[in-house]
Amino acid sequence: MHEVLGYVFPNDLHILWSLMIVLYPYVTGLVAGAFIVSSLYHVFEFESLKPIARFALIASLAFLLVATWPLLLHLGHPLRGINVMITPNFTSAMAGFGYFYGGYMIILLFEVWLVYRKDIVTYARRSRGLKQWIYKLLALGVYDISEEAQQIDRRAVKFLAAIGIPAAFLLHGYVGFLFGALKSNPWWSTPLMPIIFIFSAVVSGIAALIVMYQVAMKLKGLVIDRACIGTMVRWLWLFLIITASLEMLEIITLAYEKAEEWEIIRQLLTGPLALSYIGIQMIMGVLIPFILLMIIVLLDRNMGDKVANTLSFTAASLLLIQVFAMRWNVVIGGQMISKSLAGMRQAYRPELFGRESITTAIFIMIVPIVFIFVAEWLLPMFKFSEEQTRKLKETADYSKGYTE
């Protein structure tokens, strides 16, 4: 039943943490990454990111909503999970998650509310029926949208976005720490683990936004803002370089030190994990997007909008796969090594149907998309892009860096 290479402890034959535990850091990473993009606009005032700032916040919230689902689905007794909040054991890296998650949720909810408050109030006055009730509920009884009130809102948003950055890093760095702090597993136990998790989170978040923004613009028939994509591509390239360097540093250090654990990790990476580590994570996921992003950044001026958008879409999609592969190789790969360091399990394949199956994972990834559609129905996120498109159509000038 279990394919084994070398000697594996009898209790190590089972992959305990399944696809769900791969998905959990992946979704958390998307949350953190999307938030960083919105903060680049709100705090660091990158004006070119304006078309996507509102959307990035909603996307971040959408993924945050489902971030705990894979965990709960994995637990043997999910109802007891609440004990983590009531009687936490502070020496446990896992016990903090509820607090980090809850705190981050509060920051994000507040920020979303403040950013969209003006619209909520406007719609609450304008609409009728069910929609009016929803807006009235969302307005929380505050209808002041005078210029002074909006000024205060903007300052509060800036503050929340500012404290949100360390919170996002904490949330995801902590997820990396969950693995990095286990001395029992040499493939996990490295101080680099939280850092790699943080940077790859930002990569996945920016990549997801590039993909979703382009799809949204196509669906709504709006122009894709070249400058916005350009800024994201530059950030993405930078974070990809950092992430890839750290990921390789980890391996190179292990290989150079040739310590006891390298014997088994070497066999793992060239054996059962060869395809997902060398093939998907490193070549398809790092090398190819790196080249694509470099082409976009370096040949920016000589490139048509369509080409640039397609290239960035391709690179971002590959990076989404890369980050997932990285989570997979960490979580599943780590469990394939036996703690005997003398052998490993050869393969793990998730089930197609069931509680911790591929179907469940797909469902969990669809829920945020549905949430985004509902949010768009309630609170249009792309008003800025709509204005841009209208202006362009009026002047019929498609040559200044915008395209349909």
Partner: protein, 263 residues
């Protein structure tokens, strides 16, 4: 697992954890010690069978590798005594075979449950062969207690690492944290499971099932707080080793004649 006093012990342990920042900071570095010590003030003695007082004992385990014949009696006894699910082991036996010109061959078919068949690679060139019984080491500084999100696994005053099956939510973090792979997630109860040194037996003055079943006296169990205990004498006077000492988990399972290949 349903002893009232153990539950109250647990409650005490958790109470301490919430007491405040100070204790949690200290407990970051010495989780087991702090909880055991503070629980001592709150424990209600008398909840154990025959007035068993957990504070009067500190149990240890000694395994003499020169005596083990790999018969698997201990594994069978454990499976029967504790109703351990198939494919999982609270205790198991490994076989090591090595020689100058061949790599170390380790195996443990079905955890040694049915003993060991003849080696597939043959015995050609084998210069040394031995069996190593393994189980939970009941570490004093154990990663599993450190990582449990809400102390469902805890260090008892008599030196055991135990799991409260009614609190465990089955996250598996302790299973990942144990460097000895002695923990597993019980597919029936969906909670963490492991060797308890047969706590239900030893608290009644009996020996663990594996010790009782061992035909050669490889496995020895004793109380180091008892000055006349033979196990205490062995620990005090013999050359003994523990598994993976570099992990600094401070196991209470000691081996006589441990070889360097054994992890």
């Amino acid at each position: 697992m349903k002893d009232l006093s153990r539950r109250s012990f647990l409650r005490a342990a958790i109470g301490v954890t919430i007491v405040g920042a100070t204790s949690s900071v200290i407990s970051l570095f010495a989780p087991g010690k702090l909880k055991a010590a503070s629980a001592a003030t709150d424990m209600q003695p008398g909840g154990f069978p025959d007035g068993y007082d957990p504070f009067a004992h500190l149990f240890s385990y000694v395994i003499d590798l020169k005596k083990c014949i790999g018969c698997g009696s201990c594994v069978r006894a454990c499976k029967k005594e504790n109703d351990v699910p198939d494919e999982f082991y609270r205790t198991w036996v490994e076989r090591y075979q090595k020689g100058r010109d061949r790599p170390v061959e380790i195996d443990s078919p079905d955890g040694g449950l049915y003993g060991f068949p003849s080696s597939t690679a043959g015995t050609e060139g084998v210069s040394k062969a031995y069996y190593v019984p393994k189980m939970c080491n009941h570490c004093a500084q154990t990663p599993c207690v450190q990582v449990c999100p809400f102390s469902a696994t805890y260090l008892s005053p008599d030196g055991l690492v135990l799991v409260d099956g009614e609190r465990c939510m089955g996250c598996g973090y302790c299973v990942q944290a144990c460097p000895y792979a002695s923990r597993f997630l019980n597919p029936r109860t969906k909670t963490a499971d492991k060797c308890t040194w047969c706590y239900h037996r030893i608290s009644r003055g009996l020996r663990p099932a594996c010790v009782q079943a061992c035909p050669t006296g490889t496995r020895m169990f004793g109380d180091v707080k008892d000055p006349y205990d033979p196990v205490r004498h062995i620990i005090d006077t013999e050359r003994i080793g523990v598994l993976q000492p570099q992990m600094l988990t401070k196991p209470k399972c000691y081996y006589i004649g441990l070889d360097k290949e054994v992890r």
